[in-house]
Symmetry: C2
Subunit: 453 residues, 2 copies
Amino acid sequence: MEQVKVFLDESDIPRQWYNILADMPTPMSPPLHPGTGQPVGPDDLAPVFPMNLIEQEVSSERWIDIPEEVLEKYLLWRPTPLYRARNFEKLLDAPVQIYYKHEGVSPPGSHKPNTAIAQAYYNKAFGIERLSTETGAGQWGSALSMACQMFGLECRVFMVRVSYDQKPYRRLMMMTWGANCVPSPSDLTAAGRKIMAENPDSPGSLGIAISEAIEDAVADEKARYSLGSVLNHVLLHQTIIGLEAQKQMEKIGVYPNVVMGCAGGGSNFAGVALPFVRDKIHGKELSVVAAEPSSCPTMTRGPFAYDFGDTAMTTPLLPMYTLGHDFVPAPIHAGGLRYHGMAPVVSHLVKEGIIEPRAFNQLETFTAGVNWARTEGFISAPETNHVIAAVVQEAERAKEEGKEKVILFNWSGHGLVDLAAYEAFLSGQLTNYALPEEEIRRALQTIEQFPKP
Amino acid sequence: MEQVKVFLDESDIPRQWYNILADMPTPMSPPLHPGTGQPVGPDDLAPVFPMNLIEQEVSSERWIDIPEEVLEKYLLWRPTPLYRARNFEKLLDAPVQIYYKHEGVSPPGSHKPNTAIAQAYYNKAFGIERLSTETGAGQWGSALSMACQMFGLECRVFMVRVSYDQKPYRRLMMMTWGANCVPSPSDLTAAGRKIMAENPDSPGSLGIAISEAIEDAVADEKARYSLGSVLNHVLLHQTIIGLEAQKQMEKIGVYPNVVMGCAGGGSNFAGVALPFVRDKIHGKELSVVAAEPSSCPTMTRGPFAYDFGDTAMTTPLLPMYTLGHDFVPAPIHAGGLRYHGMAPVVSHLVKEGIIEPRAFNQLETFTAGVNWARTEGFISAPETNHVIAAVVQEAERAKEEGKEKVILFNWSGHGLVDLAAYEAFLSGQLTNYALPEEEIRRALQTIEQFPKP
């Protein structure tokens, strides 16, 4: 009986998050105020985020203590098991060992609560009483709902109306955890009312939902806004994934040649990768691969430029790979990867050649995901299928090269409430989306006016 | 930071299942052939089950080796963590320690694969190529689909048509794992065609689906039928839950005063309870409590009698608590507990006073389940909410009595694809079902003709 899982005792859970800013080989460009073109300061962000999280956002301390109250909640599902995918290895028949962190064991079924719990805690500690956020498919909204409930905060989630109607299960999770989930556009905000006046049947968009959530938060001094990816402090909280993985691999005396994750805004990928990126910056030889959809090829086809983080142009200008904040990705089922930009930290490391992005099309990701489910058992989220496709590719390369490799990746979440996507795939209704160069060029015109990082 | 989870190393996974038949304080009545009134022999069952499982069904060996191939698949999610529900304890504010086995970490999200994997293995080893089964809400059908895929067996699941239409997610899991899930009644069997001829819009029932699955299996010599609860060998496979729990509690030096599970057919309850029942039979003092719905009060209000295991009267007569095979339970959301009978092993132990049954109504189970989700994070299956209600009751009693208690229960599965039930509850649309005595009496008339055990 060969070992499949490596557990970590609760007493060995990492007590600090890792902040890559302390180890960046070159300085990052700062976020800019869109009006002045000057770097934004903490005060600019104060109406949106609590000051303790703003301090984390700009901190360059290498290690940041995880508060006891956060650790206590983490223990509800962390440390997550490190798995060796022996059955999938057999299927691939390549000279690779495949390890994965199983982040699907959290109550909402993904890595998202790693930062939701932390953000709820810091907001509560700062005296905030209510959080407001947006959600697309609902992974983030459900994670924040649970976190707010656990720290006694109210939670309002603006959920893109078309998802609200078509994907009831995530909405129902939020309801069960006591959050107020409203379809966006809503009549709770000026932004929402304006859209509804123009188009009463608007299906909504993530851009609209972000505008509503920010407006809702800043209008109420006891409320703040919460974001589930992209920002430095969000990536920071996710590093617990990679830090645990390092301890677990050390336990079995293995170190990866390749570390992989799927990347939409970048947080689950950064979570597993950044502690290993640190090793790489300090001389360790390894590949770090971010898998994105070829229908939304931010890192593989977009420029590194200043752009808004949201479609509604309410955020500071962020230095990142972007397809332009006007870019509307094709309706692939991996909703969490349909984002025009990429976390500035991840973008910077791609630009520096430390992280390698690769794009995968929808059909190869679902092929990989179904093979995964039929060997390893677990049904992956459509987002997660992208990194599984990357693992398949890496295994094929290892076979061609006749080289043994140890692969580590983050299995970011399960797909039990995304099964309609599997049905579409298995019944032959899914397609790939070829993305014409003109479409990207057109979307990028909107950012030509901005400064260059 | 107080400990929340107790992991068991894979190398410490139990290598044998525990067979309570070896320790029964009094002999059990045998299953009877409904035609002859004589005990059924192995040959009677041979067209339905493979002989290696029939041998297990009638074995009185105390310990039965778990085959290496089964252990290998178990390791995909086993040993499951033993949790201490510290947050729920705080909410209850009673002198109790609450421990639970988290069976929701399996790929389909419940305890069902513990026996599905074993049954698929034994059928494969016997040369069977295809399994046929029925499913109501879909927990069992999805577990068997995964297990068959892993052992290279075909799988056909007859799913009650109303569930097939209303609960697509379980059906889609089966599809993803490669099974053939058909709505029942279907035109694949004479039984199905007959029903459809009488009523083309028949919503189906578990009784009809069982008839179709058995007919489908016995008509094909390379196929067999598979059952997800009730039978001795199914309960046997589930004892891995309790055996792991014993090792885990031993690790932290705790022994329970009360062991609890929810009971529909009896298998998850038996899984956690039987290894502790063994201790009780040998003199240990503890309570063993089975929680059932008050709308389907098999053990608390039914007689101990011979009855068919299915509505369609195709099984042997089983000695058990029953509400009569004609009994149609109210449409509560805990579909897995809507069963007129109870596993003979569990029934026998109830009759002997070793297991204490208690009934809980729908609203108190969902109240318990929502409080659970809001403290422990995990959203329970509606079935599982019954045992959580039992835990709440036990905690209240401990408080009244001023007695400290250690409670262990089986958290049989998550409710992530049962969220419509939570919505109905949270929006005030759920009700309790008062069950008039006449209704039970009427259903019981159908079994008056049978021998008495």
